[in-house]
Amino acid sequence: MRRIPLAALLGLIFTGAYFAAALFAPLIAPYGMAEVVGDSWEPSSASHWLGTDSIGRDLLSRMIWGGRTTIFVAVCATLLSFGLGSTLGFFAAVKGGWVDQVLSRTVDLMMSIPSLISALVVLSVMPVTLPVLILVMGILDSTRVYRLARAVAVDIAVMDYVEAARLRGEKQAWIIFREILPNALSPLVAEMGLRFIFAVLFISTLSFLGLGVQPPMADWGGIVKENKEGIVYGIPAALIPAFAIASLAISVNLVADWVLNRTSSLKGGRGA
């Protein structure tokens, strides 16, 4: 019964590979992040597996270092958005009344502005550093998580077992984290896989527009930006990060689906 389905296994392998590469970038990357080692846009060779980029840096090393930044920012932003969004969403659902109104209408207000535009506005006046990026992305994304968490929790909060906990005199924290959270976890985990990928796309978009990760630091969106002129000359360097983003997206969601299946069992995974 501990057998992992093939799709989940594939997802686990790819996701694991990307995260491992990100984690051990200094050990794996053949060259330094900003080291110029050859001519611009050299084709792939034994010394440069993926060739070189627009100013002659090793593309494989750039990809590994860039993956480290992209994945780090996306993970932090996703964790922040889930921590913030689900806690506030559960709180609004449990409290109800004006607390719910104030929180929900504030979130509505934030969601009425496209998140890319609000991010561009904020980042154009703030110094663009990694913590600021993470904070901006996390807070903007938490509005989506808030809506989901609140919707799920409103249904759970009226169950008899939550009422029983209230009658026992339990504090809000117990009701939110011990009664509601375990029952809301399945949809949240599924959403988390999706949100992580949106975060990857978001940071890549920002970097592509020049308001994300700043050079000479590498990240996947930045690599596309630096190499986009090459496409005109038939040089595929800009497509490599795109492929990385796509394959990461698919594999993370394969894992999320599998986790969803495992956690939706009501019998502690001991069979139907």
């Binding site: 029983a164 026992r168 005199g169 139907a272």
Partner: protein, 553 residues
């Protein structure tokens, strides 16, 4: 019966099921799917104009057998063996086209929950005559027949009720409209699947009488499926008792009710035989409710009107009434979930604050509650040990080994024993779930437990076990119960005092012997006389003698 009645020619028994075997596939994760047999070779025969009652607990296979008369298996259930003859032909062999001609024309079906079975977006008449029109009758003819049936079934305004939508009629009326729908295409057989189970007792009796009359006037054959032997005794000619997909006993109605042969049938017949002698009202009241009036936010009428009751320590106060009478609201007011607008509640000598936030931890601990639906009263993600252990940890600070030991003690008290502590609620049966809820309430060492319809979702034999357990626990620990129910048989079994509620008021209140002794007011009389009794001819007797109509009629 097939053994006793010599095999006749097919024509005179309209429905003839022979050695029916029904299987389903279950898919335990991680294990290979396996086939489970639900019905093991059941045979039955039904003649035209006769009513056969199928009776058994949940999981006995009664609905599955009923639906096989339409060659239908619900939820992936497969009919794998045996033959089903309807009007002389084996319907297992007539193919999809033949089944379409059969279903809704020769055989029709009345579901348990009419509210869930009607399309809320279309008027009743459209739905009642839908299959009749497909059968080739003209619209005006079909409507005339439907109106005729509405009248036969005793529905108010038979000419115009068809224009209403499902939410515009009461539950009892909707169930009768559904019966009209089933009878409209002039079927030869109607399958009634627990048609009155979801109704109040006072409404059930009207629906039951209407169904019985309609069956006799139209002369159809019927399969009547229920778990309530007293109900089936009123309408059927023959009764078949089922258990675990096998026939236990078959006979005429009188024989099964009066002289049951099998031990299991005897247990079903003698259910609710708990003897409970009323305790003297001398003891100090643990709970006093004085002049309580309450209404829900945003409404303009009182759900409770000047309610006065009290409950002596270690005794049981039963609050009875039909749905909407305010009995569950009374529980919400006492627990503080709905603060009372007026009046006061005294508990163990202390005056309770109206709202939950103002109550001390001891107030909360000593007043526990058990719910109707044990499924949703326990967090499905917590093990039994967490569920029972949390009040121990929360109120008494028990941890680790001490907590585990106490949880096991409580499990022993509710007669569940070892091996349950690390199970999840989904791994327990209905009766076990309710027992765990009782243990959770007991863990707090309460003085009073509010029991909100705790047995109404359970099979009769299981419910009986729960009531006996509650009485034993009361004898041992002196805990008082406020018992909310609409089932007067339960009340007779366990109450010391009774409050009869009607439209938010207490109509009759006092010791059990006084409340259940004549002279009655009209409402109490209606309520008492509506409890089905397990004897033939009871239904006609009651209808002839009662003094007021049910509110839901």
């Amino acid at each position: 019966m097939p053994e006793t009645s010599a095999p006749k020619s097919v024509s005179d028994s309209f429905l003839d099921i022979r050695n029916l075997v029904i299987e389903a596939t279950s898919y335990p994760p991680g294990e290979p799917p396996k086939d489970v047999t639900l019905v093991h070779g059941v045979s039955l025969k039904l003649e035209k104009g006769k009513v056969l009652g199928l009776i058994g607990e949940s999981g006995a296979g009664k609905s599955t057998i009923g639906l096989s008369s339409m060659a239908y298996g619900r939820g992936g259930v497969r009919i794998t063996g045996g033959e089903v003859f309807v009007n002389g032909r084996d319907i297992m062999k007539i193919g999809a086209g033949g089944l379409r001609a059969l279903r809704g024309k020769e055989v029709t079906y009345v579901a348990q929950s009419a509210a869930a079975a009607f399309n809320p977006a279309r008027p009743l008449m459209e739905q009642v005559i839908e299959t009749t029109l497909m059968g080739g009758m003209s619209r005006s003819e079909a409507e005339a027949r439907a109106v005729d049936l509405f009248r036969q079934l005793g529905l108010p305004n038979p000419e115009t009720i068809g224009q209403r939508f499902p939410h515009q009629v009461s539950g009892g009326q909707l169930q009768r409209v559904m019966t009209a729908m089933a009878l409209c295409p002039k079927p030869d057989l109607v399958v009634f699947d627990e048609p009155t189970t979801a109704l109040d007792v006072t409404t059930q009796i009207d629906v039951l009488a209407a169904i019985k009359r309609a069956i006799h006037e139209t002369g159809v054959a019927a399969l009547y499926i229920t778990h309530d032997l007293a109900v089936v005794a009123q309408v059927s000619d023959h009764i078949m008792v089922l258990r675990h997909g096998r026939m236990v006993e078959y006979g005429t109605c009188a024989q099964v009710i009066e002289t049951p042969h099998e031990a299991y049938t005897q247990a079903l017949v003698s259910v609710r035989s708990i003897d409970h002698t009323e305790k003297a009202p001398g003891a100090d009241p643990v709970l006093t409710v004085q002049g309580v009036t309450a209404r829900y936010k945003g409404t303009h009428f009182d759900v409770l009107k000047n309610v006065n009751v009290d409950l002596p320590a270690g005794q049981t106060l039963a609050v009875v009434g039909e749905s909407g009478s305010g009995k569950s609201t009374l529980a919400r007011v006492i627990t503080g979930l709905l603060p009372a607008a007026q009046g006061q509640i005294t508990f163990a000598g202390r005056r309770l604050s109206a709202d939950l936030a103002g109550r001390s931890r001891d107030d909360l601990r000593e007043l526990q509650m058990i719910y109707q639906m044990a499924d949703v009263a326990m967090n499905p993600r917590q093990t039994v040990e967490t569920i029972i252990g949390r009040p121990l940890e929360f109120y008494f600070g028990l941890k680790g080994e001490a907590k585990r030991k106490r949880v096991q003690e409580l499990l022993d008290q509710i007669e569940m024993g070892r091996g349950f502590a690390d199970r999840y609620p989904a791994e327990l049966s209905g009766g076990q779930k309710q027992r765990v809820c009782i243990a959770r309430a007991l863990a707090a060492k309460p003085r009073l437990i509010i029991c909100d319809e705790v047995t109404s979702a359970l099979d009769p034999l299981v419910a009986d076990g729960i009531l006996k357990l509650l009485l034993d626990l009361q004898a041992q620990q002196g805990v008082a119960y406020l018992f909310i129910t609409h089932d007067l048989a339960t009340v007779r079994a366990i109450a010391d005092r009774i409050a009869v509620m009607y439209k938010g008021e207490v109509r009759r209140y006092g010791p059990k012997s006084d409340v259940l002794a004549p002279p009655f007011d009209d409402y109490t009389d209606l309520l008492l006389s509506s409890v089905p009794e397990m004897r033939l001819g009871w239904l006609e007797e009651v209808l002839a003698h009662r003094r007021m109509a049910a509110a839901g009629n």
